[in-house]
């Protein structure tokens, strides 16, 4: 258990490509940090640098009080769970879990106690003598977890550990990993491209794009006040609706020839990107006040909710409504509350409104 601190960590590959721009953040003791971003955003590289599987080009990495930039992965006091689990296929579950301890020259009976404890915790006791090939995907995942737990490391690293599982199992394992991490209270870094995983598991989320940190924050901060259009459109399903508009400097945004009230905290008059989450608008059949006309093209039934795909002033727009909402027969309008509107700079994508 330890605090982990990254200071201006940078990665440049020999071919000159900068995979991670200088990035700094701290992970508190026992915290689970999720690194999320599209593929190629540098999240795995960052994790692998912390693991010691990639060299750190510049910057300082501390695990606990130790600078570990040049420490061998085996001596960093970390454990890693890989996407394809990387279990040793020729070893039994027991041996898979014991291998790391054996290499550290722990006494046999101590290894035995630890492995059996971990197996107990993960409901793997009856499978200890099986080979990985005789286990289901979820069980293999748990063995990989067990291999990490028995080491009692200062830091857990998870590299997309759930992406090889089917959707149902993924939901279940998500909860298992989370509760296990809570129970053993080990500082963790978790890499995923799935924003649902990020939202549900993280204490704090780090959103990465093109090797740069876009935002660091709790799931609700990330969701409610995205720092940029990238974060806004990456986090949340369906993504935030974004469209170009003009802010008049006096609390209104003009989209085409319609205006919408916004809370902008004294932003100057300028062109903006106007963003609204699909679930923060309401659908009406009557054009009252500032309601925007909405051309409905397609309705997607999701069971608990409905996605209405359509257009506002020629820009595509998605509305997420409860399945109990009645869709008016005639023309439809959207009521957009001022507090639901996010404004971003059109060029940099940075957040303008509070």
């Amino acid at each position: 258990m330890a605090k982990v601190s990254l200071q201006d960590i940078r990665k440049v590959y020999p071919n000159g490509a900068e995979a991670v721009t200088p990035s700094s953040f701290d992970i508190d003791d026992g915290e689970l940090i999720v690194l999320v971003g599209p593929s190629g955003c540098g999240k795995s590289t960052l994790l692998r640098m912390v693991a010691g599987l990639e060299d750190i080009t510049e910057g300082t990495l501390r695990i606990g009080d130790r600078v570990v930039n040049d420490v061998d992965p085996a001596d960093r006091d970390i454990a890693m769970v890989f996407q394809n689990y990387a279990l040793y296929p020729h070893m039994s579950v027991y041996k898979n879990m014991a291998y790391g301890l054996k290499n550290r020259k722990l006494p046999k009976d101590e290894i035995d106690t630890k492995v059996r404890q971990a197996a107990e915790m993960l409901n793997l006791t009856e499978f200890l003598e099986r080979r990985p090939s005789q286990l289901s995907g979820g069980q293999r995942q748990r063995v990989a977890m067990g291999r990490a737990i028995v080491r009692e490391p200062a830091l857990f690293l998870f590299d997309e550990p759930l992406s090889n599982l089917d959707a149902k199992l993924r939901n279940q394992m998500r909860i298992e990993i989370r509760s296990l991490q809570r129970r053993v209270n080990v500082t963790s870094m978790y890499v995923t491209h799935d924003q649902v995983e990020a939202m549900t598991m993280a204490d704090r989320i780090i959103v990465l794009n093109h090797g740069r940190i876009e935002q660091i924050g709790t799931p609700s901060e990330i969701y409610n006040t995205p720092a940029s259009t990238f974060v806004a459109s990456f986090m949340g399903a369906p993504p935030m609706n974004l469209m170009p508009a003009t802010y008049d400097g006096a609390g209104y945004v003009r989209i085409g020839d319609k205006s919408v009230a916004v809370i902008a905290n004294g932003a100057p008059k300028s062109d903006v990107q106007f963003g609204v989450r699909p679930e923060n608008v309401s659908l009406t059949g009557v054009p009252k006040g500032a309601a925007l006309p909405f051309t409905l093209d397609l309705v997607e039934e999701l069971g608990a909710s409905r996605l209405l795909h359509g257009r506002i002033e020629g820009h595509s727009f998605v509305v997420n409504t409860a399945n109990t909402t009645r869709i008016p027969d005639g023309p439809t309008y959207l009521d957009i509350p001022a507090e639901a509107v996010h404004l971003f700079a059109p060029d940099t994508g940075q957040r303008l409104s509070a």
Binding site: A51, G52, L53, D72, P73, A74, I78, A79, M80, F82, Q83, N84, Y85, A86, L87, Y88, P89, H90, M91, Y99, G100, N103, R104, S133, R147
Partner: protein, 298 residues
Amino acid sequence: MAEISQTIATPAAPPRRRFRWGRVFDHAVLILGSAFMLMPVLLALTTMSFSDVQIERQGIIFGLSDQMGANFTKAMTEKSGFTEAITGTRMLMNSFILGIGFALGKIVISMMAAYAIVYFRLRFATFAFWIIFTTLLLPLEVRILPSYEVVQGMGLTNTYTGLIVPLIASATGTFFFRQFFRSVPEEMIEAARIDGAGPVKFFIDILVPLSRTMIAAIFIIMFVFGWNQYLWPTLITTEEGLFTLVRGIKQIIQVFEGATIPEYGKGLALAVIAMIPPVAIVVFFQNWFVKGLVESEK
């Protein structure tokens, strides 16, 4: 294969199967082909059951007589050769030493070479690999004089070392292991690194057990290859105590040429004995063999 065709055929088979000429033709081709291939072996076996005198008189004989056991015993136990220093049993043992030493040596060397090429950031790894690969173009027969010169200079003629070591560098083996190692997922190495396994530990604890089937397959090929070596043993071993079966047979028949009748029965018996181990190995290990070459346990 047999199982598969059975499971397919059994439920669908009607009480009387339709007679198909195509099937007859297929089988005829197969039977003819195998008869053609097996005939020499069969003739060796039958001829062997006659006495040397009869063989001298009649040549190859189709049929059975009573001398088979006697010829076998003679082949295995009778001291023969110019110096009377070797029996069939001894030659069999020498052949095993050569076959096994050759196969094991090749596996060890080529695994280590492939390990170095695949897993270590060597400056000229790819180049080194292609250099090793081009040695396929330089079989023993091409480099036999220099090879002999070197071995002789080191005083290794008439030793098992001299017999085996110059042959164990293997481009084929290196190539097979290289391809196999490259298919082992990267994460396996990383997991092992985090688990505290250094290069040697990783090789022995993980890579070697993972390559089991591959090792078995290459062992079979190389054992047979080593067993059948003729030219190199002929050059290197002049002491009859070191003769292998494959080269010994001819020597033994030749010895009494001239006034006496050559020991045909014994020679044929030795030839049959020489065939048995490679065949047995392939038959017993064919499952492993196929497994090693087509699938990998990952």
